[in-house]
Each structure stands twice: as structure tokens, then as C-alpha cells.
Amino acid sequence: MMGERITLRKIIIAPAVWVSFALLVFPLALSDIDSRLFSPLALPGYVLFVCMTVIGDILPKVRNFGFRLYWVPFIVVCYGVSLALGAGYYALCRRYTIQR
């Protein structure tokens, strides 16, 4: 395994990416359907969603969009964040393997 390259393709299909994506999106989506289902698991997605709307709310053109529309960019951003997390995770694993 030593020296194996992390390719973009590997990261895109990597389980760590999809797991973090699912954790960001699904608990919040569930709570959006019925807020009684809001759990602490939804917190990361919740904070990210709120942050995106806070920024959008002060941008001249974006501010006219209803907050419901933020689900689309939210999902895109979640995927981006998951890619970064996934890449970080595999880079750490690789380093750990090499050091061993």
C-alpha cells in the first residue's frame, strides 16, 4: 500500500466522502420534513445551512431568494465539504501507513 496515489476518482467514490455527505445532509433533511426528528446529528448541516443563508441574506441579488431555494447550493456545498473531509481522511490514513 505504501506510496499509493490518491487520485480524484478514488476520492469521489470513496466511502468516507459519502459518509460525511450523508451525515451533513440527511439528518437536516429529515428534520425539515418533521422538526420533531431534529437530532444532534443534524447540527453540522444545520450550522452550515444557517451560515449560508446569513451570507446570502446580505448579498444584494441573492437576498431575494427564499430560504427554501438554499437547499440546492447547500447540497453542492455539502458535497464539496465532504470531498475535502474525505481527501483529508485518506491523506491521514496514508501518512499513518507510511510511518508504520
Binding site: L28, S31, D32, I33, D34, S35, R36, F38, S39, P40, A42, L43, Y46, F49, V50, T53, V54, D57, I58, R63, G66, F67
Partner: protein, 224 residues
Amino acid sequence: MEGTNRETGVYEVNGSKEGPTAVVIGGMHGNEVNGYRVAANATNWELDAGRLLVIPLANIVAIERNSRRGPDGDLNRLFPSGQKPESALARAIWGVVKDTDPDVVIDLHRSRGLFNTHRRWIGQVLLLTEAHGERAIDTAEYVIDYMNENHVPRTMRFHRFTMADIHDTDRDTGMLIQKVQRDIGALGFLIESTEFLLDLETQLRWTTTITEQLLDQNGIQRTA
């Protein structure tokens, strides 16, 4: 209601015992569904004491159009203190409120955003007028704590209810709760519940509970 073309109904619910009088108003803004649905439900409530007057669909034309404003603009800006309300509908509503001689008036609304988070939206707020006494503040604090403890999930930090008052003493907002306080000395509360990341059922549940709690704190308990 007299003086209006469209029927804006007024309903009365009487408790089994004597007690204070309250007015609950929904649909002041026609696109705030939680407000008029909760007020409509309140016409069927049963009370242990007191009297509840409900105007569930205050701005029926705006409700039918699903728009905030009615034919005369924003209805909740047409109630200047010490003067005649500025439209036929506003005058009719004010007539009912005044004749009822209420101890407390509760106006139900919906916000789109979160308090102190989204610049353009007021968020989940219990609004008081500047003339509130200590009792009104105590009541509001109790109800807000109750909501945050029992209904808003602990980790939903930005959704916590807050109290706010219409600051400037001199400024006349034209809001009904301010006129109520200034002209007839009744307590006026405006409930803003948000739709942000909340399903309609939750909005209805929270608006209902906060209304019940406010009435309860003012001596009118819902029994069914």
C-alpha cells in the same frame, strides 16, 4: 364585520367561570398561514375561565391572495395610536377590539428567518410594546423559557425564542398591539414564529403552544 365588503368573522369562546378577556387575531398578513390556522382552531377551544374573542381571518382578501398586504397595504401598520385607524377594515377590527375591552391581545404572525441571525427578518420573537409593565415582561420571559425548554430542540440554537420590544417610545409603528397598549391600556403581544427549516405542522404546534401559554399566564386556561 361592519364596514368591510368581505366577511371577517368574529368568534367568542366563554370559559365556565368568570375571568379575564383576551382577543386573539390571525391573518393580519395574508401569507402567514400558521397565524390564521391557529386562530381558526382557537374558535373551537374550551376554556376553564374568562372570555376569548377570536378574529381568525383578519385580512381575508390578503389571505385569499396569499399575500402579506391587502388592498389597503400592510394592515398591521394602519393602527396609529390616539387616532382613527387608516382603513375601513382596520377601523372595523379596532371597533371589535375596543368594544371587547380586553385585558390582553395576542396577534399571530410568521417570520421567514431567525432572530439576530438574518438581518432582514425578525425571527422567533415575542414582541411587546414599549409601555409593557413588569408583569408583561415576566409573562413573556416565562413563555419564552417554556418554549425553549420544551419545544425548541436544544441543539437548534438559532431557533430559540426571544423577547423584543418596539423600542422608540416616540415612534408610532401603527401596529395593533401598540395601539392596544396606548389607547386602552391592555397588554399587547405579537408572536412571530418562523418557517425557516420548520415544517408547517411544527409552526402550527409552536404557535398554538405559545398562544396557550400566554393565555394561561393571563388567567385563561385551555381545557380542550
